[in-house]
């Protein structure tokens, strides 16, 4: 029986490394889907990177952020280094705050993720404005808000493989 609870007292199974890699690749796939004309599509890679940097700061860090940023730069036709910079900073900030953020219930976690995602988006905006781009409109900043909202179902989905069955055993203390 799985319980959809997120309390920190719940003991999770250790994460499988291939699951992290697969989810990050899936996020990259999501960013490459032809959704460019829909406003407010969150940056899936940033969201997933943020999630794993907070959950598993020892496994996913700035190296992954840099590699994924480079891939996004090339796939997006953006200036090289734009996503790299934003993602690396995002991963660092997320890892630095991971101990604190994990202390909160998931809805309040989402509130603390919002500034991280928004900051990384604003950083990219500033970099492109400096490089001579035009302001793309406020719709550009809807994505991170939606991303932060998705934190709540996202946490549940991504932790599903780690929940262990709740079974009562009289001989086991835990």
């Amino acid at each position: 029986m799985m319980q959809p609870t997120f309390t920190s007292s719940r003991i999770l199974l250790p994460v499988r490394p291939w699951f992290i890699v697969a989810s990050l690749l899936f996020a990259l796939l999501g960013n490459l889907l032809p959704t460019a004309y829909w406003p407010g599509i969150p940056d899936w890679v940033a969201l997933l990177l943020c999630f794993w940097s907070i959950r598993e700061p020892r496994r996913v860090g700035m190296g992954w952020a840099f590699a994924l940023g480079l891939a996004m730069d090339v796939a997006d036709g953006a200036v090289l280094g734009q996503h790299c910079f934003a993602y690396v900073l995002l991963a660092y900030m997320a890892a630095a705050q991971s101990r604190r953020i994990l202390w909160f219930p998931v809805a309040q976690q989402a509130l603390q993720i919002l500034p991280l995602l928004l900051g990384s988006q604003v950083l990219q905006l500033l970099m492109r404005l400096v490089a001579g781009g035009d302001f793309p409109g406020w719709g550009y900043l809807i994505g991170p808000v939606l991303g932060a909202l998705l934190w709540i179902p996202g946490t549940f989905l991504l932790l599903l493989p780690q929940y262990q069955p709740v079974e009562r055993d009289e001989n086991r203390p835990l």
Binding site: N31, L32, A36, Y37, G63, D76, G77, G81, Q82, Y140
Partner: protein
């Protein structure tokens, strides 16, 4: 003092300190950013990464094409038959024009030869499918499914059935990037069909175009058709580009403000035709006689003939 500075040996190996890593990665990203922006010399890095990302791009394209296929299936046989019928009729209707076009082209060539004018270049190219529009909201670019393997080179123009779409700007092994004519500051040399006036049309970045550097008293009207002038040596002359939508004359400025809307379905199409690069134009006459330029000029002229 020196004794206190000694840190205890680490219990766990954790690699370099996070702040050091952060500094390294940020500096590296910034270096990439500046070099790519100012010197545009990272083509090889881009191509290598593109080769790695390419499979993911192909997979990401699949849901869309699956939906397309499903819709086409659901539309049913009747619709298809109707479409087929309509297309056959359209083909029949245009057949006389096409047949006469061939005749006219032949005649035109003969007359041009009589006049000792260079023959007009013929347009040929290859059809490419659009994979996706880039997610970057600061630019207007699309990725097509043909690249170096199909002989695409940077600079080739792309058109659809209504007019000019854009220009190939980056080429990857299996894909290429087309910058749309509506991209910010993307320029296309054009000619107004009605008056023959030449100008350059610039993208504004918001899906519209602007005709710049036209004097306020110039003969431009709303509805004027703009076609490529071919002076750039890239676009063949005569392809429709845009139609003038607004002319604003203000005596305070030397130039008129002229807005135009692109004719091609610049932002919503499924296939484009990438035209073969034009024949090299003869080089401009050398300004100062030097051994190097006199060597190169005849060779190039011979090739372009």
């Amino acid at each position: 003092m020196a004794g206190i500075d000694h840190a205890p040996p680490p219990f766990f190996k954790r690699g370099p300190a996070p702040l050091a890593l952060l500094t390294f990665y940020l500096a590296f990203s910034l270096a990439l950013f500046v070099v790519d922006l100012r010197m545009q010399s990272l083509g090889l890095l881009r191509q290598t990464v593109a080769l790695i990302v390419d499979p993911v791009q192909r997979v990401a394209q699949m849901p869309g094409s699956l939906v397309d296929h499903a819709l086409a299936y659901l539309r049913g046989l009747d619709d298809m038959r109707e479409d087929n019928m309509r297309l056959k009729q359209a083909q029949l209707l245009t057949a006389p024009n096409l047949q006469r076009l061939e005749h006219l082209e032949a005649e035109n060539e003969r007359l041009r030869r009589l006049l000792a004018v260079n023959e007009r270049e013929k347009a040929h190219g290859q059809v490419a499918q659009i994979m996706y529009t880039t997610r970057d909201p600061f630019s207007r670019r699309i990725i097509i499914d043909k690249g170096q393997q199909s002989g695409i080179v940077a600079g080739q123009p792309a058109i659809d059935e209504a007019g000019v779409v854009g220009q190939v700007t980056r080429v990857f092994p299996f894909s290429a990037e087309i910058t749309l004519i509506t991209d910010k500051d993307q320029a296309v040399p054009v000619q107004i069909v009605r008056s023959g006036q030449r100008s350059v049309v610039f993208g504004l970045g918001n899906g519209q175009l602007e005709l710049r550097y036209i004097p306020a008293n110039a003969d431009v009207q709303v509805g004027d058709l703009l076609v490529t002038s071919g002076l750039d040596g890239i676009f063949l002359p005569g392809f429709p580009v845009a139609r003038v939508t607004k002319v604003e004359r203000d005596s305070a400025f030397a130039f008129a403000r002229i807005a135009a809307a692109p004719l091609a379905g610049v932002e919503n199409f499924a296939e484009v035709m990438v035209l073969a690069p034009r024949q090299e134009l003869p080089p401009p006459p050398p300004q100062a006689p030097s051994r190097k330029s006199s060597n190169v000029a005849p060779a190039k002229k011979a090739r372009s003939k």
